[in-house]
């Protein structure tokens, strides 16, 4: 029952009443980046450093989790920023600056890894990610680790952070990219679709599989007795 949870899930309604697609994830002031992009395009050089600072950390985090190496990530973040300024004339809609910048980062990252962005990867079936059910006479239950003791935050939890980073690193590119953009960088479904050049529905499907895969990997670690 929902009441058994430490933090009950509760009814999760869309925020807009007229239908579905309104992401609940809080966005970290995206207007600030849009405003900086507008000012840069208008020739306001005082926006240069705040813009670099706003994106350098985001790009580093994204590429670190994509490339896996700190040095590579710093290099890719710098190279991406250079391409951003070299190609600023191509940014026709400043309100799309976030997906535009991340799209460049994604390409730089792939070039760095000398891997084709068009390399096909298999979609994982949902059945592979479902937990197995057991009926032991005392009612139906799923085979799942005990997640109750796991904190909601990574603060002071070095091993948990490493476990999570490793699990993300093990995800197939197709899913890792979607997860990083949506759940780590908190881009909207539509922005993520724009970065990856796919539809919003594809983003939703891949995100769900990515989360399930990650959950499955963490669950396996917990079942194996690894307690961060």
């Amino acid at each position: 029952m929902a009441g058994n949870l430490e933090a009950p899930i509760g009814p999760l309604r869309p925020q807009s009443q007229d239908g579905a697609v309104e992401s609940a994830a809080p966005r970290p002031a995206p207007n600030k980046e849009v405003e900086l992009a507008r000012r840069l395009i208008a020739g306001d050089e005082s926006a240069f450093e705040p813009f670099v600072s706003a994106f350098q950390t985001k790009l580093f985090q994204y590429t670190y989790l994509t490339c896996g190496q700190r040095e590579d990530a710093e290099e890719v973040a710098q190279e991406t920023l250079l391409k951003v300024f070299e190609n600023l004339a191509q940014l026709r809609e400043p309100e799309k600056v976030r997906p535009w910048v991340f799209r460049i980062a994604r390409n730089v990252c792939y070039m760095k890894r000398r891997k084709s962005i068009y390399a096909p990867e298999e979609e994982i079936s949902l059945d592979q990610l479902m937990p197995s059910f057991k009926d032991d006479g005392g009612g139906r239950r799923i085979e799942i680790a005990d997640w109750k003791g796991l904190p909601d935050t990574l603060a002071m939890k070095g091993e948990l952070r490493d476990m999570l980073r490793e699990a993300i690193g093990d995800l197939p590119d197709l899913y890792r990219n979607t997860l990083l953009l949506r759940d780590v960088e908190e881009l909207s479904t539509e922005e993520t679709a724009e970065v990856l050049g796919v539809s919003a529905d594809v983003v939703k499907t891949r995100l769900h599989r990515a989360r399930l895969m990650l959950r499955q990997r963490l669950d396996a670690q917990l079942l194996a007795g690894v307690r961060p």
Binding site: I9, Q56, T153, L154, L164, H208
Partner: protein, 97 residues
């Protein structure tokens, strides 16, 4: 209203947790979860996975850009700015002519 099975719930869980589902679908999922302890366990583990990911970005910071790197970026921006101004100048002169 048809009763949803666990598998159908699992298929919709990300959209449910992201609040992207229409209210009637949310009601069906709430009704199922309210009576299905295994689903509660599963939803909680997925929700925690998502929360941990959000927290991950706070953990890593890049080294500050070196002077040379920052200077390269600024040069690229200034080049863009000059070209943009030149374009504007051409347009302005063209319209005056």
């Amino acid at each position: 209203m048809t009763k949803l099975e666990c598998k159908e719930i699992f298929e919709k869980l990300s959209e449910y947790l992201d609040r992207q589902l229409p209210p009637d679908m949310c009601d069906q999922i709430d009704a199922h979860i309210g009576a299905c302890p295994p689903c509660v366990q599963f939803v909680e583990s997925l929700r925690k996975t998502m929360e941990l990911c959000k927290d991950l970005k706070e953990e890593e910071k890049p080294a500050p850009l070196r002077h040379h790197a920052l200077s390269n970026l600024r040069s690229a921006y200034q080049k863009f700015s000059r070209e943009r101004n030149a374009e504007k100048g051409v347009l302005k002169n063209g319209s005056e002519a």
